[in-house]
């Protein structure tokens, strides 16, 4: 690193529910990157999203386990609501104490994350990488056309997608590699009867608070398996994740619309409702 990058100015937000650890990360960052200004420290996922959207920082340090909305959920929500025409997508770094699976998933995907307690050596490496990424982002490229800006956004989104998938798959305890799921034992909306639903009839899954809704052309069922756990048992070509909370049968997708605000929605054959498509998964529907 040369002198210009260590003194580079940037803004960051820390989301960490344990006050002492937030304070420590702040102190370590002050030493490793004096030019970095911590614009806010949030104690839970919801306020992290709120503060990030208000202050539009360039770097986010997110704890994975947080009350209310966890770090992964907060990041996914930001990916969708970040005003990309006002500020470039921020750099995202996860900070975790011991999320056994997540850390392992990050290792496997060679994703940058910081382990608590934060060690200065490790943090310096992360800082160097962040500065490089920010410098590349700020470089006034000779052809600053919308296409290039779009490419940069696409690149950041791809990066976020990779981080969130690795962490999401990582926080679910590994299920034994088994044959793809064929039947789902679900309770119907009343909750008193268990019904066996063939997977071939399912059009989409939607996470709702504590449950997962299972929707066929005619019925709705509820199961308690978390979406991220179910995803490991679904065939990735048959079912596509299009949103943090939604997985759809790819063959049933009828059309995808972009509204005035630039948000994508899709409709499924056999269902009337519009299903939101997250910015993170919009690449699935780029016209060929």
């Amino acid at each position: 690193m040369n002198a210009t990058t260590t003194t580079m100015n940037a803004t960051a937000l820390i989301a960490e529910d344990e006050p002492l650890l937030a304070q420590a990360l702040k102190a370590e960052l002050a030493a490793a990157w004096p030019g970095l200004q911590i614009v806010a420290t949030a104690g839970d996922g919801r306020s992290a999203v709120r503060e990030a959207l208000r202050l539009l920082p360039q770097v986010l340090f997110f704890d994975i386990r947080m009350p209310g909305l966890d770090g992964l959920g907060a990041a996914a929500e930001l990916a969708d609501s970040w005003p990309t025409d006002e500020a470039p997508m921020p750099q995202l770094v996860f900070v975790t104490a011991y999320d056994e699976y997540a850390a392992r998933a990050f290792e496997a995907e060679a994703i940058d994350y910081v382990l608590k307690p934060v060690q200065s050596e490790r943090l310096r490496k992360t800082v160097a990488r962040l500065q490089q990424a920010l410098a590349a982002q700020q470089q006034p490229s000779p052809s600053a056309s919308p296409a290039v800006a779009g490419d940069a956004l696409e690149q950041t989104l791809a990066q976020w997608r990779q981080v969130l998938t690795a962490a999401g798959a990582g926080t679910a305890p590994p299920t034994p590699a088994s044959a793809p799921l064929r039947m789902i034992a679900a309770s119907d909306a009343g909750g008193s009867t268990v019904r066996m639903v063939p997977i071939d009839e399912v059009l989409y899954f939607e996470a709702a608070d504590k449950y997962l809704r299972v929707l066929t052309a005619t019925h709705e069922y509820l199961i308690r398996t978390p979406l991220k756990q179910l995803l490991t048992q679904l065939d990735a070509d048959t079912f596509w994740q299009v949103h943090r909370a939604v997985v759809v049968r790819s063959a049933a997708i009828e059309s995808v619309h972009r509204d005035e605000a630039g948000k994508l929605h899709l409709t499924l054959r056999g269902r009337a409702e519009k299903i939101p498509v997250s910015r993170l998964y919009a690449h699935l529907f780029r016209a060929m």
Binding site: D17, E18, P19, L20, L21, Q23, A24, G43, D44, R46, S47, R65, P67, G68, A97, Y98, D99, E100, K116, P117, V118, P173, K210, Y211, R224, P226
Partner: protein, 358 residues
């Protein structure tokens, strides 16, 4: 292990069957030799009779046994089936073996009217005694093998349960976060770091040795809860407030060590940690007639939200508390988990006070 789906003729069973066969053959040779020495015809013809009868008996009984119950753990049919099978084996073996033997020595085929003849009678007796004896021998062998494997399984289960208990109490996320906090405190607030380290020390000591002791005074139990809650409140800051209320006259009541720990942990993990604004935990012991009542109250997210066990973590702790209560106090103990009136969860334990303390 699901015994019902084991194939009947799996390699292990076939191997055992042939081992039985070899032992049977050896035993038949022994009988034949003994009979020949005792002067009952030539050794050769005795061998033919003995081996024919023996191997047929063995084959019928062993194959029948696997057909009837090869998929079960003890490889013997139950009750009448087993007697029937032995009777069938003996009959087929006796008739078939004698037929082969008669054909070999050229004797006239078996005459049932001559059953009373001395030779016939002794053959029947020998076949009966030998077969039943062998069956009993193999049956006990199989049974003791099964007992041994059950014993090993039980031992393994006990070890697993202990490990699991330790794992829940030394939850890595809790431990590493505590260490991370400690690391911060060492530089910013050394006296508080020392206090925290002492708490961690006694918490770890208790957790690692606690599962061995049978009982300790309630005051010690409350001290350990204090250690744990203090560690957690360093981590959670303002989000955790707690009160411990133990009347003086109940301090010496013996309780199983770490009995309350899982309840407080559940309150934090499933009640307060998911709640943005945090909340309060109150642990209270009181006397109700001749019973001790302990309540763990929290103002967390409540039962319903906490129950869908995403990691299956909450179930084990409660199950374990209930089991330990039942082991020590039997039917007279009680544990209830209910929604607290002010939101959150209330766990109530009650069990008889020892007569000496009341």
């Amino acid at each position: 292990m699901t015994p019902e789906v084991l194939p009947r003729f799996r390699a292990e069973n076939i191997r055992n069957m042939f081992r039985h066969g070899l032992i049977t053959v050896a035993f038949c040779c022994f009988i034949a030799t003994a009979l020949a020495i005792a002067g009952n015809g030539s050794w050769e013809s005795q061998m033919v009779y003995s081996l024919s009868i023996g191997t047929i008996c063995w084959f019928v009984i062993d194959v029948g046994r696997l057909l009837l119950s090869g998929h079960k753990e003890v490889l013997w049919p139950h009750g009448l089936w087993s007697y029937g099978l032995i009777a069938l084996g003996i009959t087929v073996g006796f008739l078939g073996g004698n037929a082969i033997g008669d054909a070999w020595v050229g004797a006239p085929p078996l005459e049932f009217r001559n059953l009373a003849a001395r030779k016939m009678a002794s053959t029947i007796v020998i076949t009966l005694v030998a077969t039943i004896g062998m069956c009993f021998f193999f049956f006990s062998l199989g049974k003791s093998k099964h007992m041994q494997s059950q014993l090993d399984l039980a031992k393994r289960n006990a070890t697993e349960a202990r490990l699991k208990l330790l794992e829940t109490q030394l939850e890595p996320h809790m431990l590493f976060n505590t260490l991370a906090n400690l690391r911060v405190l060492i530089t910013v607030d050394p006296p508080r770091a020392v206090a925290m380290l002492d708490r961690l020390n006694s918490y770890l000591r208790m957790t690692l040795s606690g599962s061995r002791a049978l009982a300790h005074p309630l005051s010690a139990e409350f001290d350990r809860l204090g250690d744990y809650l203090e560690l957690m409140s360093v981590r959670m800051g303002e989000r955790l407030r707690y009160t411990l209320d133990l009347p003086d006259d109940l301090r010496d009541v013996p309780v199983p060590p770490l009995l309350l720990q899982p309840l407080v942990e559940n309150s934090i993990r499933h009640g307060l940690e998911p709640k943005v604004e945090g909340g309060e935990i109150a642990v209270r012991a009181r006397r109700n007639g001749d019973r001790l009542v302990i309540e763990v109250n929290d103002t967390g997210v409540g039962l319903d939200a906490a129950l869908p066990s995403e990691e299956g973590g909450s179930g084990f702790g409660l199950e374990q508390v209930r089991e330990r209560l039942a082991t020590v106090f039997g039917e007279r103990s009680e544990m209830r988990l209910a929604a607290a009136p002010a939101g959150g969860t209330c766990a109530t334990l009650s069990f008889p006070l020892p007569t000496a303390a009341s």
